[in-house]
Amino acid sequence: MADPSISHFDKALIDILHEVSNEDPDSIEDLNPRYRALRGTEERYTNFNRVGQGALKTVYQARDEMANRDIAYAVLNDELNFSYYDNFVYEAWLTASLSHPNIINIYDVGLDQDERPYFTMDLKSNYTYDRFIREVQSHKLIVDSFISICNAIIYAHDKSIIHLDLKPENIQCDVFGEVLICDWGLGRMLTDDTHIPCSDYNLEKKNSTLYGHIQGTPGYMSPEQILANDLYDERSDVFSLGAILYLAMEGRPAFPGDVETILVNTQESTLAPFSKCPASLQLIIKQALATNPDSRYQSVSELRQDLLRYASDHPVAAEKSNLLKTSQLYFKRNATTSAIILFSIIVISIIVLTLSSQLQSKKLEVNQLGDEISSVIHEYETFEAALIDSKQEMAQRLSDLATKKLYESLSLFEFQKSQDAVTPLDNSVILFEKALKLAPDNEHAYHHLVQAKMIQLDFEYIIAHLSHSENDVIKRYIQIAQQFPHYNFSAEHRPTGSQLVAFFNQLDCRTSTELQLAEAVLRYDHASRAQSKEDYTPVALACLTAINQYVDGFAITYNKEMHSIHLQTTNSSHLLSFFSPYRPPFLSFVDPHVQRLYVASSDTVYTSSLNHTRFEEIDLTQSASITCDADQISLPDTKTIRITKNAPQLEVIIRTLSQSNDALQIVIE
């Protein structure tokens, strides 16, 4: 008996529980109708409708019951046996490896109940690119859609996959020009030479012995595909894209006629004459369709680049840019501005000339004069526009070369060839100056020029050519330069020792920017005085003192008579080259006639701070510890190094130091 105290509410609730748990075993699936449908699916693919057949495969529209959508289902044709299985799977896997919005998607690859391979993919509409070209009137839309095709192919090429059968029928499209590259049946991995493709065309024409090995579609396939020499690469797809672009522009194929005519014309690059294609595009198409792959665009990216230039009214690379063309395009890009300027000039000229002609004589008709002048002005404008473009281009080239020289110079500082670094740096300065003369707003050139001028200590130039910069380093450089406005040094004209030291005293070498600058300036200075017989030691040591001005207890004394240097510090990191432990450090600027170095450091002494120095004897007994920060250092003239026996890791130190020179004696005290 149920407890009479159970209320109506409780009873109704429990009834629901009974409904769930007892009576109907399917009740839980009723709660999950979609799950139930999925569970009940026996055949994944149903409702087949044939939508297309090639020589190799048949494509059906089918229902994917598990994903609940319509898909395209591809199978090998019935009459093809297992010898085709591998090619079929290759196509499926190749396509599946591409994931791009403009490339067809593979959903599923598998074996049917007869163990024959199939794959499923996006269901194509019948709307292909050739129909799009016929129906769409907008030139811009066609160019844009073609650029989308290029994007997809660039992506595939980037994955080393080439299509080899690009043609309008293999490009699905919608009315907005959204494209989908399909049919990768001839596609291949460039890195995989084990795959032997078989072509639809080949199968269709298997009786034709003449063209029995053809892989591709005549009219779109490249000459190298016709030769079947198997030397295909990305440029074969460039050719096909050229043929598609021709069709898109002219509305008819580039290579018309019967198959043999097409093949001959393809190999000779004999195109049907252009009739409505813009001249710049003609050049692009011709370059893409060159017989020799070396004469084509070398990649689809290059082709796209030129198309983008064309689309934005810039001169394309395929044409040898001439002044008239460049200026035409310049006017096209800046139509309004140009028109206003031109109009104003004409109006002003007319007024001036009208007045002057009145003053002189009335031999000439005013209007005639106006026409003549305006045409001259027009010519001038055209010339100037072209000049601006070529100026920018030249400036960029100069600046690029200059940058190269500057870096070359900085990297030469790294080795024992500091002298060789002077010339590239001076050259880079000349080039940057020229680049800036042509294009004063080239920031890159300006920044690098300031950097190079700082190294030369030519502050006069920097101040005379001040330009606004948001770059913090450049701002700081200018600030330093302004403190020595009369420094105008070059490789030939070097500052005095005290001028150099004054500059170093202004630097705060606790910041890496200024430490870098200090090092570069000292190197450049040292290198440009390489011919001088003067003792560089006092200059080097004064600079080193300036660099270490914020280090407590730093002191360096040079005893000329004793040929010795005593160095005392609490922070030895500023004795090192900023750039690398293998670069000559600051102590390497000391002249070779100085024979002894005494270092008393409460901080550890880094072995690299001694690298490339020329002392006969180095005494480190007053330094608490030594750190081997470079595997090997070079000490060609050193005969003795003294180390305190209390230094930690003595063995490592001895091992490292003894590698630097066979004759070296390490004395432990």
């Binding site: 407890d3 109506h8 509410f9 629901i16 529980l17 769930v20 748990s21």
Partner: protein
């Protein structure tokens, strides 16, 4: 019926994977039920904690040994409760006892037909469905659950429409949705708490 993999149920995780969190949750859910039941049986407050702990301990210890082929979980559950009550009273020198008008003795072999078993059954089911209803409550906003509860109380449709201000169509839809959600929740709680 769908064979829910035990890895996805609370009891499955507790028993098969020895998942401590699952054990804790299972333990506290059973504990609540046992207290609920013992109170229904009017166990004196003095004895309540001892008895409940004993029953719970027995239940948890023997959960693994439960064998579905020998009967339903709910029968087994009531057997455990009955045994615990008796064992407790035997310690207090009594072979049978009366609680809230029910005679509890070991001798009643045909357990599934005793009044006590019917009561325990009903209480367990009620406990589960109320637990489910509380969980469902969080899934809905507004008056959906309220309308559903009114229907459970047997209130006429017109009264529900009037009290909630919903249209007849909405009442119908909401009730159906709440019921579906409740059924899923009940199913899920059963699979969590009753070993299969």
């Amino acid at each position: 019926m769908a064979n829910f993999d035990t890895r996805y149920t609370l009891i499955g995780r507790a028993l098969n994977l020895n998942d401590q969190d699952a054990w804790n949750e299972l333990h506290s859910t059973y504990e609540k039920f046992i207290y609920f039941l013992l109170r229904k049986l009017s166990v004196p407050e003095n004895d309540l904690d001892d008895l409940a702990q004993q029953a719970l301990c027995y239940l948890v210890k023997n959960l693994e040994k439960y064998d579905q082929s020998k009967g339903k979980f709910r029968n087994w559950l009531s057997q455990i409760v009955r045994t615990s009550v008796l064992m407790y009273h035997r310690k207090n020198k009594s072979n049978s006892t009366k609680l809230a008008g029910y005679t509890i003795s070991l001798e009643s072999e045909d357990s599934s037909h005793s009044d006590l078993d019917v009561l325990i059954h009903a209480q367990w089911e009620s406990y589960i469905s109320k637990l489910a209803l509380e969980r469902v409550r969080n899934n809905f906003r507004g008056v959906a659950v309220e309308a559903f509860e009114m229907a459970l109380n047997g209130e006429p449709k017109t009264a529900i429409i009037e009290k909630t201000g919903l249209s007849e169509g909405s009442v119908h839809t909401l009730r159906r949705r709440v019921k579906r959600s409740l059924m899923l929740e009940i199913k899920s709680i059963i699979s969590d708490l009753e070993p299969s």
